[in-house]
Symmetry: D4
Amino acid sequence: MAKGDSRNHHMDILRECRTNIPEVVFARFKDDHGLLETIKSLLEANKRVLVTKCSRSQMELLNNEFASKVKKGDEISGTMIIVEEEIQSEIIGSVAVVSAGTSDYFVAEEAGISSEFFGLKVYRHYDCGIAGIHRVEGALKTIEEKKVDVVIVVAGMEGALPSIISGLVKQPIVAVPTSVGYGASLNGIAALLAMLNSCSPGVVVVNIDNGFGAAAAAYKTIKWMKNRE
Amino acid sequence: MAKGDSRNHHMDILRECRTNIPEVVFARFKDDHGLLETIKSLLEANKRVLVTKCSRSQMELLNNEFASKVKKGDEISGTMIIVEEEIQSEIIGSVAVVSAGTSDYFVAEEAGISSEFFGLKVYRHYDCGIAGIHRVEGALKTIEEKKVDVVIVVAGMEGALPSIISGLVKQPIVAVPTSVGYGASLNGIAALLAMLNSCSPGVVVVNIDNGFGAAAAAYKTIKWMKNRE
Amino acid sequence: MAKGDSRNHHMDILRECRTNIPEVVFARFKDDHGLLETIKSLLEANKRVLVTKCSRSQMELLNNEFASKVKKGDEISGTMIIVEEEIQSEIIGSVAVVSAGTSDYFVAEEAGISSEFFGLKVYRHYDCGIAGIHRVEGALKTIEEKKVDVVIVVAGMEGALPSIISGLVKQPIVAVPTSVGYGASLNGIAALLAMLNSCSPGVVVVNIDNGFGAAAAAYKTIKWMKNRE
Amino acid sequence: MAKGDSRNHHMDILRECRTNIPEVVFARFKDDHGLLETIKSLLEANKRVLVTKCSRSQMELLNNEFASKVKKGDEISGTMIIVEEEIQSEIIGSVAVVSAGTSDYFVAEEAGISSEFFGLKVYRHYDCGIAGIHRVEGALKTIEEKKVDVVIVVAGMEGALPSIISGLVKQPIVAVPTSVGYGASLNGIAALLAMLNSCSPGVVVVNIDNGFGAAAAAYKTIKWMKNRE
Amino acid sequence: MAKGDSRNHHMDILRECRTNIPEVVFARFKDDHGLLETIKSLLEANKRVLVTKCSRSQMELLNNEFASKVKKGDEISGTMIIVEEEIQSEIIGSVAVVSAGTSDYFVAEEAGISSEFFGLKVYRHYDCGIAGIHRVEGALKTIEEKKVDVVIVVAGMEGALPSIISGLVKQPIVAVPTSVGYGASLNGIAALLAMLNSCSPGVVVVNIDNGFGAAAAAYKTIKWMKNRE
Amino acid sequence: MAKGDSRNHHMDILRECRTNIPEVVFARFKDDHGLLETIKSLLEANKRVLVTKCSRSQMELLNNEFASKVKKGDEISGTMIIVEEEIQSEIIGSVAVVSAGTSDYFVAEEAGISSEFFGLKVYRHYDCGIAGIHRVEGALKTIEEKKVDVVIVVAGMEGALPSIISGLVKQPIVAVPTSVGYGASLNGIAALLAMLNSCSPGVVVVNIDNGFGAAAAAYKTIKWMKNRE
Amino acid sequence: MAKGDSRNHHMDILRECRTNIPEVVFARFKDDHGLLETIKSLLEANKRVLVTKCSRSQMELLNNEFASKVKKGDEISGTMIIVEEEIQSEIIGSVAVVSAGTSDYFVAEEAGISSEFFGLKVYRHYDCGIAGIHRVEGALKTIEEKKVDVVIVVAGMEGALPSIISGLVKQPIVAVPTSVGYGASLNGIAALLAMLNSCSPGVVVVNIDNGFGAAAAAYKTIKWMKNRE
Amino acid sequence: MAKGDSRNHHMDILRECRTNIPEVVFARFKDDHGLLETIKSLLEANKRVLVTKCSRSQMELLNNEFASKVKKGDEISGTMIIVEEEIQSEIIGSVAVVSAGTSDYFVAEEAGISSEFFGLKVYRHYDCGIAGIHRVEGALKTIEEKKVDVVIVVAGMEGALPSIISGLVKQPIVAVPTSVGYGASLNGIAALLAMLNSCSPGVVVVNIDNGFGAAAAAYKTIKWMKNRE
């Protein structure tokens, strides 16, 4: 067999794998033309597209261009789901998205919408910090009663929330540090380091502000553990 | 109800939770006396103890002290399982531990032994780098055929292995950066950053050299997803 | 007793504790809607609210929305006190806020207004640097004569002022590094490191630009030391 | 008056001030000869000397040299009190020293012995982490019942303990990050950053491993607040 | 010979050397006047000028000023070739410029246009990431069939592409990290570190976003290896 | 003598010292009101004021406010000399200011104007990089023939120019790193580190972009060495 | 075709590629047993093995174990070539290895021996710094007269040597930063950053202390440019 | 004239320049053989050699080898002057070397002995910190009365001493940060940053622990300012 052929096969493996995590669009660094082209070609291929980290003006552009095809769009996080035609996607599992305060909304909601794009039911608890830590209680109650599959915990500043929640629930925890903070938060590095050094065993971490990545990890876990056969 | 009481209850929650991830012993920073005391009291409480990051001399100390109770001990990683009495623990799932080279052994084997402590069957593929990347093939074959629950990928230097494997298998991936490297590897920071920035969605990361943490994450995921009821 | 109940009690402890440091609002990262909602609900609960780190446009928004309820507002630091109804709050102690230069005003005044919000009398010495270090003398005189309870020292660049003042007065010193500087000041990291390495024993440090945090530390100290019974 | 004279007066101020925080000896970086000379001259001047951060061999040297004059000596932290003659020092207040685990002992005990040197009663709770977080309860009980003046909280790794305790007690908190940890703990930088970014208002921070500094801050606060007249 | 003279000779060497890499213009940090003056004088001397890292407004300025002399101009990368008169430059070799995604275009195209300025034929493969990694196949096919002299690989985020391509082709690889990414990408530092730690021997690296530098390295290699006599 | 008095004397020393380096105004971080007030009071006291690091709008403000009193003003560096009345200041020495390229102008000219403010004759060589390194020759010739007292060398990117010039002239060299560069220049950190590690003995360094600081160092050296009696 | 098969083919590509850069052994992080096993299996497969970064005791181990098979061994750099049987390898090109001082020897010689392992003739100039920069002249003369294919420049501290040489010769330059230096050299980071920011276009860089990597890059370039058909 | 010739002349300039700062030997990173060879050849050329940063065992080696030729040797700093024959060198000026504490001795004394090697009279004040800051007074008195030419100020930890002294004397100040400290001192980075951000205009800085560099700067300044004709 010729070498060219073998490379083809190498690609087949990857393509097959990609069916589990569909291509998504990371809008930052893209100019308007490139963004539209990318979305259109994916829309044609997959019928539904997730776009993350849009600027305000990119959100407007997409709202104008895709209008009724925009199924979900959140301005603050810059996250959008665009669908060619509405498909009733099957719910394959559930996540709780818990964040420390409303300031972390832009990351938490990226995780939330991304999870929905992947066919997960999402329980949101975004306001534990601002109106009192007793709202963690609400989150804990949901996590316990709904038996969510995975808990995504989003926090900036000192990043201690994942450790605290990890010590109170049995579910796997995906920790997302955010760039919320100032000074010695170093744009989220402080929260990232704290989460990596969590004394609560088993906390895993994704990139700063990477709500999408946490959703993808949750989805991948649920998909495999529940649907492997 | 008095305040003192309520604090008690707070603790009960935590204690209940701890039953899932048993106390383990992190040997570094401990003097001989403290290390022995800690192990003995846990041994009495839990009948089995995992000790991680022992120095050579701590390994000797424990081998002398606990002798026949040492069920498993790896010198290079400084990991040890000590049991009061041999219990036939149930196997609740499986992991593959894949590492880039024999230099990463000290982290990979910490993940391996820790996983066994948690009751997981472990498939080891530690030599993908040194004798040729075709040994990744062996790892991929195991992962596919054994339908392992979680894949732990251990790598130092540029830390690209988790992304590559993540693109070739359907299982959730826990990435462990190692301090293997020199110069601009910055004791593992380069690998850590690479893994956090993985373009393969869903890769989650633990601390540099934290083989135990990856095993705990795998265990927590498997335990919850399979045994939640 | 059920687990859910016990969690409630856990929260009661915290709520009780919160009465000492009332909720405040950190405006940065909040959108207009979220900011207003947060303030309104706190205003209803506590009758008075401290808002910190407002942008210019947030200051305008709040001035328009709350008008006569704005008791104190400083544009440069973005600090504001909003009250539902004027209450004559008791003065429980005093602080001196000393800063190296007018450039540090935005942090010093956040500390000053926050201290007033907590019921502390504030002595301000903000201009020690620009018109001559002999104005430190004025600060020292105030500190000595007024027997202030705590001294908050605010400085950017090399951050040496807290050490110098700490060596000249008997009061406890809270050091606040600021992001004033350029180049190797690394946005305040240089000042932060200098303060953490102070050769004057007993200097304690808060985050870069965290005037509010210094005021909270001073308040907590004074409240406990004077009112514990 | 000549300029030389005025400089003299400048020094008088400082000398007077020094009576509150007596000179102590930082042993690291000193050779044997210099260490002994420094201690002897201070011993003559002040009758009692605190020595911190001794190496094992420095501890031996001092034990041999000063023998019966060694009032207190802790090998693990390298802290020692040497007295010319035993004086019954007055107890002027109290601190609780709380640490996350036995690994943090070397910093916690430096804080403890230093506090005793300053005439403070010390309540030690060093084992909250290893044998279960329910031992925090013990610490909280002491803090409440003994009405300690200041709480010193010592923690490495993710450094979350000061925030947690700060949310549960009314006393002022001095947070001490430790170098306990590995990998992304960056020798204590992770804990330091977390503490500086604490979402619990009023937490103040000293240098990594600086148990002495925390004790000095506690002493300075207590001395001034209680003895100012 | 006088000292002044000898210094002159020192300069002659350098001037002679410069004929291989002609002066180019780095537009950032230049004001409009300085930019125009610099270009004009180089245009007079060399007849053709390469301008890199222009802002949008600088692009407009140059388009207006030099109009028909603008031979090539790319807005996204801010790269421009201005020629006094069209000269048919000889093609001395070829490069492939491969990038991970359209987001890296601004660096890849700087490398591409710069290579053309140096007289190299350029094969562009800029879209390997977004529409599927099977497009790497296209790049590999070009690299093999066209027997390009040097491969320039451009990637942000985790920066793994150069290692992967380096393991699949025989040509020398110049790796260019880009600032594409967010959070722990640290503006390209993560990609830079990964490339420097590449486990694929022989990968060499230039500065973050330095497409021009990669082109210059490729040119210098080709020029010397092919034209040395 | 009372303590208050002695503090006064302490200040006298400082005030006397200040006569050598007059107060200057660092405009960044100042609001318009504060900037004007500071300048006016210094103008009254000293008759002449140096203002550094003005923004464009601050330059306009000062030009409008002080009009004919503006003796010298450079927009790019934001440096300005304002005089109450023109005084013929004595020239006490000379410096050469050498920079690598026109991009470094904003720092070099701050050094130049500041030097003039201090009464130094300034020889400028700002264009060594862009139009050819043979212009270093011009700088060297000036330095030698004019026997300048001190050479200030300004460079960004790799920061090698001070070492090179230091190896070719006998004068003391003050090196000024600039923030010119991108990517791994880390806003001037690369140049700063290079200069601190210069293999040419005796190179001394000031903060990134600190042209004023270099001028002050040159002035202080010249003033003391020539006028000490 | 089944998926397993295609993965096999993927590996074939890589294996074929590996024939250009043979497997080498990175000794650091390996225990004695692992090191010997790795070398033996490679020796059997390839007949010759390059070992880099051996410790002193590893050097001894290998000298004892392989005795007469050790063709070349340098203690300071810890580099060794072991051959099963002496083969007269063809010289395919040449490099000059130039270093700033004898302190950089341990990196320069790793580059030198590695280059010889790859079949390159090596011209060494290691003493440019210590006995006078006029020895650069010797290096330049060799580079010019021998028409070496590639120049490897090794330097620590400020890392300026590659830029200087790059401005004086026509060959491609591979720059190797070393960890030689102290303080702000940050173990070679200063030299690395300087080289990445070189104002001499076309300088490419490898990891700190990575003499082997520079040799591999030179080899890959020469092999491809000269032997491609 | 041929190109080779011109390069020769380039070197002549440098050699002539070197007569002002004689070659010195940096012992760290050198093996015994290389160290001895380097010293011997310099000794033959220059009759006197300065060796810096020797380890203890290197000190012994040199003491044994050069015996009576060792004119001055300090074990703690690892500094040594070796002379072929005693020459009565002319004193060309003076420096004061002031350090914060005995811990900084190893850097201060490197500066002191290096200054003596350069023919400067040295006034040492090394104990300002440990036995009381009133000893700064002694230093100030010396500086004023002896009218020293340059003041070298050596400090670790927070690095504030140069700013304080700079504000009290008229001489030029060379600041030397030391690696004395721990935790957030980051091996001297904290002191380095503080000195670079000094609010006392005109403070110039050398590398961490670079006592030799400060002496060279002082010498270069004095030599030029006093002996230029």
